[in-house]
């Protein structure tokens, strides 16, 4: 897959940079060009918003049959996190056994290698989470 596809999302993936609508104040991850609440009024009025990266586990699974590029990581914990700012985000929880994770567990963002496209392909980096 082309490198640009991953490159153009680096700021969001590396820094948890989403968007904030300056009209209604809602924040969004991933970033949006237009606020789905304010529609056209928000055009040109969205600003970058840096999420702190702290939140709680809304639900999770332990993946045994992995996604492409994740074979070496099984079994891994995949969770939906409710960020402190209110938005939800999907990511792995690392650095702990699955038995330590529950719905409601508090987590924080860490920067890690996500996956690799085989031995000679590109490596993707981005956010994961660990228990606080």
């Amino acid at each position: 897959m082309g490198v640009a596809r991953y490159w153009r999302q680096q700021d969001q993936r590396y820094n948890l940079r989403g968007a904030r609508c300056t009209i209604c104040g809602n924040v969004f991850f991933p970033s949006r060009m237009m606020c789905p609440v304010c529609h056209r009024r928000s055009l040109g009025k969205m600003e970058k918003y840096h999420f702190i990266g702290s939140g709680k586990v809304a639900s999770f699974t332990i993946v045994h049959d992995p996604a492409p590029g994740y074979r070496s990581q099984v079994p891994y914990i995949l969770a939906v996190i409710e960020l402190d700012e209110g938005d939800m985000i999907l990511g792995q929880i690392v650095d702990c056994p699955p038995s330590d994770v529950g719905i409601g567990s508090e987590v924080e963002m860490v920067f890690r290698k996500l996956s690799e496209e085989g031995r000679s392909g590109t490596i993707q980096y981005g956010y994961k989470f660990r228990l606080k």
């Binding site: 809304a58 639900s59 996604a67 939800m88 792995q92 719905i103």
Partner: protein, 392 residues
């Protein structure tokens, strides 16, 4: 709600057995289902005005796009260059193609339309197939972060367990019931019964879901013939009327939806279909719902209004969703046992409902079935389609 300009009926159905068809190509699967539907309708193929095909991803599975033209030619419908259109919404593609065929006739544009669905999945390994199936979820913000389709459903399942006390045994009961039903369907991929223990002891895919909580990788095709109602009464001894249709969309990624335990697209699609048909959930005698994962059936029978939210699991264990229960669900075996060739599924569901309403479902016939519902979901719920059919 405005009435459709014209009423539409199903006058012919056909399908291949679902399963691993090493010996059959995509084209051959499509032809077999299509020819059978046209023969069942008993019409001359010259009367067919248009073709709609539901297919999720021939592009990924077979490196072949532009399949509507390909199938139209194979089934001999290009002599008069009739319009042939492919419709895509992940594994709701078949149901959506059906809806497009319905709207095509209802609008007055055409009188007789063939609608098909087909998928050839076994030409790639199951690992590769799993990656392609995940293309129905959000590639940039889910799959790239390690999400698989069963993983996303597992996340919904665990939240459902937390909020409503749903158990893994209740999830397993869906699979056990659908295998029991599938045993009575000669077109089903799996025709053997399993036990709760089989499901619970199977290898884990994404906890709490195991292999037997997941629909299989399948090849297969299904087709049907739609006809304007007045004409249908003239040429068909047993037309089945399409009473209502509804479609809903929601965010592609589960993180962009307010709840992890319901599919808003399903709720809205069914509300629209019920309103158009003038029926309520209580009026439905038999239903085919989207059980690509066992939690999917539990959420579906709740979101469609058959049971209270949270009662889907207990209802399944109470045998409310099998023969003799409140509403028999997935009499065909569902996606789990009939098989799930993505684009073909929505059409196969309608075929089962038509069989039931014709009273021709043999050993799995639901007694006095007069109104049936079919429900399809694309991916994790970005699209849902609900169609209601009734005996004329």
């Amino acid at each position: 709600m405005r009435k459709l300009a014209r009423e539409v009926a199903v006058i012919g159905i056909g399908q291949t057995k679902f399963g691993e068809h090493w010996d059959l190509s995509f084209r051959e699967l499509g032809i077999r289902a299509g020819i059978e539907a046209i023969l069942d309708a008993g019409i001359d193929s010259k009367r067919i005005d248009a073709l709609f095909i539901g297919n999720m991803s021939a592009g990924l599975f077979l490196d072949q796009e532009h399949i509507a033209s390909m199938i139209a030619e194979e089934v001999g419908l290009t002599a008069n260059q009739i319009p042939a259109t492919r419709v895509e919404a992940a594994d709701a593609s078949g149901a959506l193609a059906f809806r497009q065929g319905l709207l095509d006739i209802a609008s007055g544009l055409h009188d007789v339309v063939v609608v098909g669905g087909a998928e050839k999945m076994s030409d790639v390994t199951s690992d590769v197939a799993a990656g392609f199936i995940a293309a129905g979820a959000d590639q940039a913000w889910e799959a790239l972060f390690g999400a698989t389709l069963p993983g996303l459903y597992a996340i919904m399942a665990r939240r459902h367990m937390k909020e409503y006390g749903t158990t893994v045994e209740q999830l397993a009961a869906v699979s056990v019931k659908n295998h029991r039903h599938g045993k009575m369907n000669p077109f089903a991929q799996f025709q053997s019964e399993i036990t709760v223990e089989t499901v619970l002891k199977a290898p884990r895919v994404a906890e709490p879901l195991g292999l037997f909580d997941c629909a299989p990788v399948s090849d297969g095709a299904a087709a049907l013939v739609l006809c304007e109602m007045e004409l249908a009464r003239e040429i068909c001894p047993c037309p089945v009327k399409i009473a209502g249709t509804g479609q809903g969309s929601d965010a592609l990624a589960i993180t962009n939806r307010p709840s992890l335990t319901e599919l808003r697209a399903t709720k809205k699609a069914s509300e629209r279909a019920y309103e158009r048909a003038g029926y309520s959930p209580k009026d439905i005698d038999v239903a085919e719902v989207h059980d690509s994962y066992t939690i999917g059936e539990i959420m579906a029978i709740e979101d469609l209004g058959f049971f209270e939210k949270g009662d889907g699991g207990p209802a399944t264990v109470r045998n409310d969703t099998t023969f003799g229960g409140i509403i028999p669900v997935n009499t065909s075996g569902g996606l789990k046992a009939r098989g799930h060739p993505l684009g073909a599924t929505g059409i196969a569901q309608i075929n089962e409902i038509v069989l039931q309403l014709r009273g021709k479902a043999d050993r799995r016939q639901v007694k006095d079935a007069r109104v049936g519902l079919a429900h399809s979901v694309g991916g994790t719920g970005g699209t849902a389609v609900v169609n209601i059919l009734e005996v004329v």
